[in-house]
Structures are given as structure tokens and as C-alpha cells.
């Protein structure tokens, strides 16, 4: 096994064992932190599929997370206060909410991706951000769902044989979801499809010369990534039980990007390590000072300036 595989397996094992141990020894707070970390790692893994492997720098991925969360909150809201019954969307069933989250995000990714992928480089970074801003402002201006103030999710998603009100079961679901997401990305990127995607990152012209339509491949990856981020958003909504447009602010998209790069883009375990480092640092620094963004920002700059390949870069295998 390569050092990277070992590092990933150790990190995942720690993440499986430590939070329940903390929980049973009376440190419920740490389980909470681990759940948030795991859910954001889900989102980072989905971003890594297009950013790390595809070289598509989406600066609007928080929008998918936000949309996923609203796909839980809005049906729950209508279940409580009426409306949308005809569409079957006034429900607390996770079996409706979660597929809805993924479908909405996949559709949004399909429509916006079709436009975004016509552009390259900085234009792509900025247009993905612009679409995320559109969603942000659209949600802000819908007063029924709380607008700026956000919306409290009164009831968590109801799933067969899993009770999300139990913090340990919620963590379990997030953890298993993360494992599945990592496996999906690993399988996708190692398939023929993934080879084309990675090849197009390195040299799109060469891949096109071989008669392959890089646009279609990238769009497909973009849609898969969007749907996965939407799923992470549905989890996040269930975790925080409060959703607000602030979840899809452009700085949130920046944080997701940072997680991927910090951990190491284009690796299976990188986004998880990055999310873990991000959340733990944030928690640790904010414990000492309300000005924790200052050292945090300096660290971010230092990471970009002085490291290559993120944290995963430390576990390079021998060639």
C-alpha cells in the first residue's frame, strides 16, 4: 500500500472510532464537531471530483450545499404550515427530500454547467460564482422562507430505521455517506470516463484530437458533483436544523475550495484531510480569540505559498 492509502485509511479509521468514544465519555460536543466535519468532507469530496480530477475550478459549490439544505427545509415547512400538497412536496420523509435535493442540484448543475463550460480559466471561476450568487439572491428575496433570516427546520428527515434526532445515528449516516462518496469518486475517476476527464485537465486539445467530446464528459462530471454536493447539503440541513442564504455565500464556496486544496486535490483522502484540518483549526483558533480569522488567513496564505499538493503531499509514495 502506498503511504497515501495508509494515511487515508488511518484518517477514516480515526474518524469512525473517536467521535463515538467521545460521545460515550460525555463529550457530546466533539461528536457534533465530527458530524459537521464529516458532512463538509462529503461536500469537499464532491467538489474534488471536478476541481481535483477535472481541473474545473467551481467557485460556486456552496450553492449546491445550500440548495440541498433548502430541499429538506422547504418540504418540512410546508408539511407544517400547508401548501404544495398537490405536488407531494409537503413532507418530512427523507425518501422524498434527499432525492429532491439531488435532483434539484443535478438540474441546476446541468443548466448552469452547460453555460459555464463554454468558458475557460478565470471566466469559468467567475461564472460559476455568478450563478451561485443568483441562487443566493433568489433565496434572500423569498420572504416566505425567511429571506435573510433563514428558516428553522422543525422536523428532521424521517428515514426508515434511522433516527436522525439521535446524534450518533446522524453521525453514522454522515460517515457512511462519506465512505460511499469517496468510493464513488474513486470508481468514477478510475473508469474510462475518469481517464478522459483527467486527460482533459492535462491537455484538452489532445483528448479532443482523439475524437472525444470533452464538453460532454465535463458536463456529466459537473452534474454528478452537483448532485453529490446537494446530498451533503441535505445532511447539513438535518444537522444544523437551520438553513439560511448565508450557507451559500461566496465565501463558503471559497472555504470548500480551500478544504480540497489544503488536503490535496485529485486524491481520494485529500478532501477529508482538508475538511478535518479546516474544522479543527477553526475550532481551536476560535477557542483562543475572536480574531481567529487573522491567523487562519495567514495560514491559508502560507499553505498556498509554501506547500505543493496539500497535506496529501506529505505522504508521497516512492516512485
Amino acid at each position: 500500500m502506498s503511504p497515501r492509502t495508509i494515511a487515508t485509511l488511518v484518517a477514516m479509521a480515526l474518524l469512525a472510532v473517536l467521535p463515538p468514544v467521545f460521545y460515550f465519555t460525555g463529550n457530546a460536543f466533539w461528536l457534533d464537531l465530527a458530524t459537521r466535519l464529516t458532512i463538509l468532507a462529503n461536500a469537499a469530496v464532491s467538489l474534488n471530483l471536478i476541481l481535483g480530477y477535472g481541473g474545473l475550478v467551481s467557485f460556486g459549490h456552496a450553492a449546491y450545499v445550500g440548495l440541498g439544505a433548502y430541499a429538506v427545509g422547504i418540504p418540512a415547512y410546508h408539511w407544517l404550515y400547508g401548501g404544495l400538497e398537490d405536488l407531494g412536496l409537503a413532507t418530512t420523509s427523507g425518501l422524498v427530500q434527499i432525492p429532491l435535493a439531488m435532483a434539484v442540484c443535478a438540474l441546476f448543475a446541468l443548466v448552469t454547467g452547460a453555460i459555464c463550460l463554454r468558458t475557460k480559466g478565470v471566466y469559468f471561476i467567475m461564472i460559476t460564482m455568478a450563478f451561485a450568487q443568483m441562487v443566493y439572491y433568489a433565496i434572500v428575496s423569498i420572504e416566505e422562507y425567511g429571506g435573510d433570516d433563514g428558516l428553522v427546520i422543525d422536523t428532521r428527515s424521517e428515514l426508515p430505521s434511522i433516527n436522525l434526532d439521535d446524534p450518533l445515528q446522524l453521525f453514522g449516516l454522515a460517515y457512511v455517506s462519506l465512505l460511499v462518496a469517496m468510493l464513488i469518486v474513486r470508481m468514477v475517476t478510475r473508469s474510462r470516463f475518469g481517464m478522459v476527464l483527467r486527460g482533459a485537465k492535462g491537455n484538452a486539445e489532445r483528448v479532443q484530437m482523439m475524437g472525444l467530446n470533452t464538453y460532454a464528459y465535463r458536463l456529466t462530471a459537473y452534474v454528478i458533483s452537483g448532485a453529490m454536493a446537494g446530498y451533503a447539503g441535505a445532511l447539513l440541513g438535518n444537522f444544523t436544523t437551520f438553513i439560511s442564504p448565508e450557507m451559500m455565500d461566496w465565501t463558503r464556496s471559497g472555504e470548500l475550495m480551500f478544504m480540497v486544496i489544503l488536503g490535496g486535490g485529485g486524491t481520494t483522502g485529500g478532501p477529508v484531510l482538508g475538511a478535518a484540518a479546516f474544522i479543527i483549526l477553526e475550532e481551536w483558533l476560535s477557542h483562543y480569540t475572536i480574531y481567529w480569522h487573522l491567523p487562519f488567513g495567514l495560514l491559508l496564505i502560507a499553505v498556498v505559498l509554501f506547500t505543493r499538493g496539500g497535506l496529501m503531499g506529505f505522504f508521497r509514495g516512492r516512485k
Binding site: L51, V57, F59, T112, I115, R118, T119, K120, G121, V122, Y123, I125, M126, I127, M129, A130, F131, Q133, M134, Y137, A138, V140, S141, I142, W250, T251, G254, M257, F258, I261, Y291, H293, L294, F296, G297, L298, L299, L300, I301, V303, V304, L305
Partner: protein, 307 residues
């Protein structure tokens, strides 16, 4: 729709457009010539506003404060170039975005540490507190005209500098082929530092001009930077002419959209539906414009000729 409101809002739109141009021109200089994506550019807009606010209270004169604050923001820009941008020129845009994203956190928190969580209101200079009454309903605050004039002067000065001075010639040359400029024995590091400082001063000036209207506050740059990026993307990255036209376009569309979209909607739909949908759509308007432009012309409206 009454005419005087239209005139007032058009002037407001022009004012916003010119302020956006001051911010966007620096972005476009730095991107066009240095190929560096600076997300933290609008932090200099915020810092300019704060520095100017402090100086206004210190020296007691707004205009003197602006004159003193301009070289200070330029120096900050210089420092950003020296310590953060320079080591990253050779890297790809993703690294630029991440490092300058970190820089935003640093600048925002530093401003919080120095000036406190509340914003600082800057009193309007006494000479410009007045209003010009063109008719009974048409009243224009003098200071808005000052901003428009200052923006136009800065834009003209920038145009003159880029087209008629040696520095401008080097900037244009650097934009088309920087390796060649360096090979000709130009001190490219000095040039890049100057470009960054100039961009910082322009963004700072925009912040200083807006401070008496909105006050200096933390995070004030975070909205502006996104709009400024929309401007340079719509205009075509690296094109000064594109930035100017797009800034005025975006400024006007945004301001007029916010005040008149519901009236326009009422022509085609029920008043209720118009009241509900207009605010959402007017907030999204500039992003919709940007998406449309990019869908039709992926390089923006006025892509620079040589790249």
C-alpha cells in the same frame, strides 16, 4: 414612471458605475498585465475608506485626508505585490484565488482589530452638504456630482497615463508580451509593483469617496469585489475600455433595475406578482447579464486584442 426619479436614478447609476470602474480598473490592470487574480483587491477599497475616515478625524479635513490616504493605500498595494503576489505569478489562477481569499480574512480581521466591529461614519465635507434643486421634485445632492466628477477625472487620467506616458507604454507592452518587455531591460519587478500600487490607490479612492455616504465598515469590500469581477468579465478581462463601458452598464442596470423593475413588470403581470418577483430579479439582474454575455461571447464584450 416620473421623469425626475428617472434622472436621479440615472445619476445614481452613473455614480455607482464610476465607483465600480475605479475598483475594476485596478483589477483589470493587475489581471491584464500581471495575469494575477486578486480577490483581495476590494479589501484595499475597504482599507482606503477606513484610513481616510481616521485621517478625516485626525486632520479635520476630508480632502486633505484623501490626499494623505492615497499614498498609504498605494503602499499597501505595493506590499501585497511584494510579499504575496510576486511568489505566485508562475502558479495557476487557483492558487491566486486561494491566497488572496486568505488575504481577505486577514485584512477584514485586521480592520476589526484596529477600528472595532462598528463602522466609522465620515462627515460630508461642509462645502458639499448642499443640494441642487433643478425643479421641485428634482433635487440632486452635490456630493453625488462630486463623486461622478472625481470618477470621470480618474478615468480620464488613467486613459491619458496608459496612452500617453512612458509608464503607460510599458504597461501596454507588458500586457501584450511581458517576457519581451523584461528582455528589453525594463525593470519588470518595479513595473509590476507600480501597477499593483496604482490599482490599490484607485480602489482606495473609490472607498474614500463612498465613505461619507455609506460609512467605512468591515466587509464593505466583499460585495464590491464580486460586482467588480462581474464588470471586468462582462467587459473582457484585461480591457480597460471594456471595464469602463461595462462598469457604467452594470451600474446603470443595477440601479435602474432596483427602482423600476416592478413598474415594468406591472405592465405585463398582476401588481402582486410584480411586487414579489421584482426584488428577487433586480438583485440577480447583473449576474443574469453576465451569464448572458458569457453564453454568447465567452471572452466578454471587448476582449483585448493581443493575448
Amino acid at each position: 414612471m416620473d421623469t425626475s426619479l428617472l434622472i436621479i436614478q440615472t445619476l445614481n447609476g452613473l455614480q455607482l458605475g464610476l465607483l465600480l470602474f475605479l475598483v475594476a480598473s485596478g483589477l483589470t490592470l493587475v489581471f491584464g498585465i500581471l495575469d494575477f487574480v486578486n480577490l483581495a483587491h476590494a479589501s484595499l477599497y475597504m482599507l482606503g475608506a477606513f484610513i481616510c475616515a481616521s485621517l478625516t478625524y485626525l486632520v479635520g479635513n476630508f480632502f486633505l485626508a484623501v490626499l494623505l490616504a492615497l499614498p498609504l493605500t498605494a503602499a499597501l498595494g505595493w506590499a501585497v505585490e511584494r510579499f504575496i503576489a510576486r511568489p505566485l505569478y508562475a502558479r495557476d489562477h487557483l492558487d491566486h484565488v486561494l491566497a488572496t481569499f486568505g488575504l481577505i480574512l486577514v485584512f477584514d480581521t485586521a480592520a476589526h482589530l484596529i477600528w472595532g466591529p462598528e463602522g466609522i461614519a465620515v462627515p460630508l465635507p461642509p462645502a458639499f452638504t448642499g443640494q441642487i434643486e433643478l425643479s421641485e421634485t428634482l433635487v440632486i445632492p452635490t456630493y453625488r456630482l462630486v463623486i461622478i466628477a472625481a470618477g470621470l477625472v480618474a478615468a480620464t487620467g488613467l486613459y491619458w497615463m496608459v496612452t500617453h506616458t512612458r509608464l503607460g507604454m510599458l504597461i501596454r507592452a507588458g500586457a501584450s508580451n511581458r517576457t519581451m518587455v523584461a528582455a528589453l531591460g525594463i525593470n519588470i519587478e518595479l513595473l509590476f509593483g507600480l501597477v499593483f500600487a496604482l490599482g490599490a490607490a484607485l480602489a482606495g479612492l473609490a472607498g474614500m469617496l463612498i465613505a461619507p455616504i455609506t460609512e467605512a465598515s468591515i466587509g464593505m469590500g466583499n460585495q464590491v469585489i464580486i460586482t467588480a469581477f462581474v464588470v471586468i468579465i462582462v467587459g473582457g478581462i484585461g480591457s480597460m475600455k471594456g471595464a469602463f463601458i461595462a462598469a457604467l452598464l452594470i451600474g446603470l442596470i443595477d440601479t435602474l433595475g432596483r427602482s423600476f423593475l416592478d413598474d415594468i413588470f406591472k405592465l405585463v403581470m398582476s401588481p402582486d406578482a410584480a411586487e414579489n418577483s421584482a426584488p428577487a430579479l433586480s438583485a440577480m439582474l447583473i449576474y443574469i447579464i453576465m451569464a448572458c454575455v458569457l453564453a454568447l461571447k465567452p471572452q466578454g464584450l471587448f476582449p483585448p486584442k493581443v493575448r
